[in-house]
């Protein structure tokens, strides 16, 4: 089903935040990746590595002031970064939709959930509130909310966390977008609910052929869901690959470290090995590998020369001293 022409092609995306009295800060630093129609692509990395900023830049939702965005975000051949705010408004929610991390704060507390679903239909489908209501109820049923005709009148605080996230997914999918961006959609939920929501997302994108960008700091989430995974560190992609090869033999010490810190059911008794240090130890990318201070196997070159992202056979890697593939 997947065609080769990319649906979304992010090229050299850079987002710089100006900070008063300090050097400008590049939260996203030359990121490039592609999403083909119907494909599920993961964007993985620790807190602060630029995942949300990347997604907000694609959506055109960064704050109006205090940042500069460069590069290209081609969606079906149009560079979204060059669209006027009104044209972008027409596409958001219709062509590209987004699900956010915290389902309680992401819903308006003083508007019934049903209206929060219908308003997208009213906006992009030109439906009346009345005509949109049954459609909204259907959408809520599809995302697994029981008794949707009653639930549609509920306010967000009357729903459980999992149900709210389901409602947000219904809102995002209301206009059958071709791309869905989910920014840590399960982080704020209980573990059991997390699994349900992930299963739901997987089922929905498969049924509807929607492409999905799954943003997470949890490789476990990616493992069950994504066709391709981009690993971000300090605003740059450090490794990319199809799910199985990447998980089987991670080449970047950071990816390797991330894999080492996921709890595994089949490895009882084995110690988890978290990556030492924190993002605060980062070196600037300009003259070094930002990850070097935390790396398990740094060589001299790592603190002297910026590694470049090298592609071969569908894998991309930015590392001077990659992890050896066990033979």
């Amino acid at each position: 089903m997947m065609s080769d022409a990319p649906l979304l092609s992010v090229e050299d995306l850079t987002v710089t935040f100006g900070r008063r009295g300090q050097e400008p800060f590049r939260a996203v630093d030359g990121v490039s990746f592609q999403v083909r129609p119907g494909q599920t692509v993961g964007l993985v990395g620790e807190s602060g590595c630029g995942k949300s900023v990347t997604s907000l830049a694609i959506m055109g939702l960064l704050p109006q002031r205090g940042n500069t965005v460069s590069g290209r975000v081609d969606f079906e051949g149009t560079n979204l970064l060059e669209l006027s705010t009104d044209d972008m408004r027409d596409r958001r929610g219709r062509d590209i939709a987004m699900v956010f991390q915290d389902p309680l704060s992401s819903l308006n507390p003083v508007v019934p959930v049903g209206v929060q679903v219908t308003e997208v239909l009213e906006r992009h489908r030109g439906m009346t509130r009345k005509a949109a209501m049954p459609v909204a109820a259907d959408l809520l049923r599809r995302v697994g909310i029981p008794d949707p005709d009653r639930r549609i009148k509920d306010y967000p605080h009357q729903m459980s966390g999992g149900m709210r996230q389901r409602a947000l997914i219904a809102i995002a999918l209301a206009c059958a977008p071709r791309l869905l961006i989910a920014d840590e959609p399960t982080t704020a939920l209980d573990v059991t609910i997390q699994a349900q929501i992930l299963a739901l997302l997987k089922e929905l994108v498969e049924d509807t052929g929607t492409a999905l960008i799954m943003i997470t700091h949890d490789l476990g989430v990616v493992a069950g869901l994504c066709d391709e995974v981009n690993v971000l560190y300090g605003g740059r992609i450090v490794e990319r690959g199809a799910r199985h090869p990447l998980f089987r033999d991670p080449r970047h010490p950071y990816t390797n470290g991330l894999l080492g810190s996921i709890p595994r059911l089949d490895a009882v008794g084995e110690r988890l090995t978290p990556i030492p240090g924190s993002v605060a130890d980062n070196l600037p990318w300009d003259h070094a590998c930002a990850f070097a201070p935390r790396c398990s196997q740094p060589i001299e070159r790592c603190t002297q020369v910026t590694p470049v992202l090298e592609e071969s056979f569908g894998r991309a890697l930015r590392c001077h001293n990659p992890v050896e593939v066990p033979r």
């Binding site: 929610g93 704060s105 308006n108 507390p109 906006r123 605080h157």
Partner: protein
């Protein structure tokens, strides 16, 4: 209002009404005791310090002030429940205190209502626009204007307005509530009366007399409502649900009305309720500058003369207005915020 909003809101209103009557009862007792603990007293105020003990005793008996205080209070409550507040002893001796209230209070209410209306109609849109253009010239200018509004005493502003608009340029009347046009009185609210009796020139005249004092008085709630609106809008703009609304591609109008203002109005509505006290106090001062004939003047004389009946009725009614307005505030809060009414 949709059905599922009405029922809970009604229950909420009844609960609040009960609470409210409790507040008024407690207040009436405190007020009663407080007035009687003030130095001096009605008798000294009327007869002067040098009156003979016999004449003092006679007057005390005539006014019922010789009885034990708890009896006086029960008698007061019993009569108040029937709408009787006794005769004035100082403001207009012999006149029914409730009558004095009826002739004076509408002026103050009319003035305060118009003032708050002006303040809200200007301050909320301005607060929204200022927040959206944070740091811009409009934002800075309106913040400065609101600071001036807080800093300048209301009677001084009243004097300024009167001097320029009434005395110097003669655009509006200098004082009073209405020209003598032989208007029919219905409710005591002059603007409303003119509309009810179709004597539109009466309404117009009353409105012209209201403009200057109302603008002066509006400076108090304006400054507060503006600043709270601005702060609330700034808070709401940072909320995740506004980002969700943007991510849905909704139009600016829908985002502004349904997602930003509806949430930002919650603190604003509360503030408006709390402003009523300051507003009534400010009204007393403003009325003085414009000889507006509200409760301000009556309160001042009643205090001097220790006119318990008039003080009790005016202060209790002012308190009732305060409590009722805050009830209305809570009701609108419950209408806006589902988390309050479904609790």
């Amino acid at each position: 209002m949709p059905k599922e909003v009405c029922g809970p809101v009604l229950r909420y209103i009844i609960r609040r009404l009960l609470q409210m009557s409790g507040v008024i009862v407690v207040l009436s007792l405190l007020l009663f005791l407080w007035l009687r603990s003030l130095p001096g007293g009605t008798v000294s105020a009327i007869l002067g310090e040098r009156a003979t003990p016999e004449s003092r005793a006679r007057l005390e008996k005539a006014l019922g002030l010789d009885e034990p205080i708890y009896l006086q209070y029960f008698r007061f409550v019993g009569r108040a429940l029937r709408g009787e507040f006794g005769a004035s002893t100082g403001v207009l001796p012999g006149r029914d205190a409730f009558d004095i209230f009826l002739t004076r209070f509408p002026a103050t209410i009319e003035l305060s209502f118009l003032a708050i209306l002006i303040a809200v109609v200007v301050a909320i849109p301005l607060g929204y626009v200022a927040a959206r253009s944070r740091g811009g010239w409009l934002d800075n200018a309106s913040v400065v204007a609101s600071l001036i509004g807080v800093a300048v005493p209301v009677f001084f502003l009243a004097f300024l307005l009167k001097y320029f608009f009434a005395i110097k340029w003669g655009l509006l009347p200098v004082s009073g509530r209405q020209e003598s046009l032989g208007c029919t009185r219905v409710t005591g609210f002059f603007v409303l009366d003119g509309l009810l009796t179709r004597e539109f020139d009466c309404s117009w005249s009353a409105l012209r007399h209201l403009i200057l004092p109302a603008f002066a008085l509006a400076s108090i709630p304006f400054a507060v409502v503006f600043r709270i609106t601005r702060a609330a809008v700034l808070d709401v703009l940072d909320e995740d649900y506004v980002r969700t609304a943007e991510a849905k591609g909704l139009t600016k109008q829908v985002i502004r009305g349904r997602h930003v203002l509806r949430n930002a109005m919650l603190p604003v509505v509360t503030t408006i309720g709390l402003q009523v006290g300051a507003l009534l106090a400010g009204a007393v001062l403003t009325e003085k500058v414009f000889a507006f004939g509200g409760i301000g003047e009556a309160l001042a004389i009643a205090f001097q003369m220790r006119d318990y009946s008039v003080l009790q009725v005016l202060i209790l009614m002012a308190a009732t207005v305060f409590v009722v307005v805050n009830l209305l505030v809570d009701i609108s809060y419950a209408v806006i915020d589902p988390r309050v009414r479904t609790r």
